[in-house]
Amino acid sequence: MGKKVLLVDDDQDFLMATRLILENSGYTVVTAEDGKTGVEMAELEKPDIAIIDMMMETWGEGFSVISKIRELECGKKMPLVVLSSVDLQGPYQSFEPSDEFPRVNMVLHKPVKAADLISYINDLTS
């Protein structure tokens, strides 16, 4: 069975599109449409990697999802990818966020090319 990817995004369509790309490439995909469910899924499903949208609609809910996943036992080492379609203002503007923010492994801008997405996930989970 392929590696398990958790997608957290409040845009249902984006979830669907990304799920199609990943499933087509042999990944198992679990999704969450809000931050709270996202954190629960991270704990329950123990994915190999989580891709988390910044969710600016709800004032950057993605930030708190990242913090909470990092607090989980299974989330300490979990590769985390931040996704955004808005300007990254604040701690994830660069790849080197300051120490008080939990580390993410990668920052991606929407949309992500299918081939790029697959290769990043491959790199981060191998």
Partner: protein, 362 residues
């Protein structure tokens, strides 16, 4: 009529102060009084009155000085001059200094009430206009957020679907269908570029990039831009002649924005220059300015259209124009140059070519 606002009377004659107070208090105004300029300024700073009546002829601090101070210090205050020697000249001068109206001595209670009422109306209009302007500024500021959320996100999702569609469909779609997908993609990319351009413009208008000012070597800017455009120029069969002297003085600015200005101008030049043409880039400087000029051997811009090319959405070729862009490219360049305290100018001759000149202060 509002009676919660203060009216301040500054006059060294006690009878005038008392007369004004009685006339105005009867109509529900709250009246403050000061016997000289210093005291008047002190009271005004403390209470922020809506209106101040100021006698021009007072010992020590003159009415004219009081007007200057109050019009600067007190928001939205309306100043009215009381002029004892009915001199038009001094009244006119006080109006220049920021007074709104004047009332000659002697005056009746009805007269001063009428002047006060008019002043209050004026003040309310002024405040309303200010509020509207602030609201407009706020809307413009929010435009960035609006564009980011409401336009970028759905576009990104559509693009992601296109990626998924290509992947899911694999080899099962015919050439025609794949063609259609590619065409859709192209149009979506154009739309995305337009949204990005809007964001760039709003950002510049909000001066969010002022923090990135640092010494910039224009030769590096030109090299970067030429490098990025070299592939396109090659395809179009256009030569690029880059002739920037190595000793060109540095300017202060934001390198990335300037690279994009150059890319815009070179990009335009490639659109309107036929194969076999040349784009040449020169620089010059004196003690005060550094300038870059980008000259093409293209179609040129008609003289009557030159003044408008920096306007948003203006198209030299009109609606029939074959070369479609966002219509914001040169507007973007102009804003960037203005943010550098510089200028951008164009000169052109039909069928000979166009020169864009960027001038920066040293």
């Amino acid at each position: 009529m509002s009676n919660s606002e203060y009216i301040l009377i500054i006059d060294d004659e006690e009878s005038i102060r008392d007369g004004c107070r009685q006339a105005l208090e009867r109509f529900g105004f709250r009246v403050l009084a000061a016997a000289n300029g210093q005291e008047g300024i002190k009271i005004a700073r403390e209470f922020g009155p809506a209106i101040a009546f100021i006698d021009l002829k007072m010992p020590t601090v003159s009415g004219m000085e009081v007007i200057e101070v109050l019009s600067q210090d007190i928001d939205d205050i309306v100043l009215i001059v009381i002029t004892g020697y009915a001199s038009i000249l001094s009244a006119v001068e006080s109006l220049k200094k920021g007074a709104y109206d004047y009332i000659p001595k002697p005056f009746t209670p009805d007269q001063i009430r009428a002047v006060a009422r008019r002043a209050l109306d004026h003040r309310n209009l002024k405040i309303e206009a200010k509020r509207l302007k602030e609201e407009k500024d706020q809307i413009e500021k929010n435009f960035i957020t609006f564009v980011s959320h409401e336009m970028r996100s759905p576009l990104a999702t559509i693009q992601q679907y296109m990626e998924a569609l290509r992947m899911v469909s694999g080899n099962c779609l015919g050439k025609e269908a794949i063609d259609i997908i590619e065409r859709c993609n192209k149009r979506i990319q154009n739309l995305e570029a337009l949204v990005e351009r809007w964001l760039d413009l709003s950002r510049i208008e909000n001066e969010t990039f002022a923090s990135d000012i640092e010494p910039v070597r224009l030769i590096a800017v030109v090299e970067r831009a030429v490098d990025e455009m070299s592939h396109l120029c090659q395809i179009r069969g256009i030569a690029v002649d880059n002739d920037i002297p190595a000793d060109l003085p540095e300017i202060k600015g934001d390198k990335e924005s300037l690279v994009r200005v150059l890319i815009n101008i070179i990009g335009n030049a490639t659109k309107y220059t036929a194969s076999g043409g040349t784009i040449s880039i020169h620089a010059r400087y004196d003690d005060h300015y550094v300038s870059l000029s980008i000259t093409d051997t293209g179609a040129g811009i008609p003289r009557e259209k030159l003044p408008f090319i920096f306007e948003p959405f203006y198209r030299v070729g009109g609606k029939e124009e074959h070369q479609r862009g966002s219509g914001l490219g040169l507007t973007f360049c102009k804003k960037i140059m203005e943010a550098h305290n510089g200028t951008i100018n164009a000169s052109s001759e039909i069928n000979k070519g166009t020169t864009f000149t960027l001038t920066f202060p040293r």
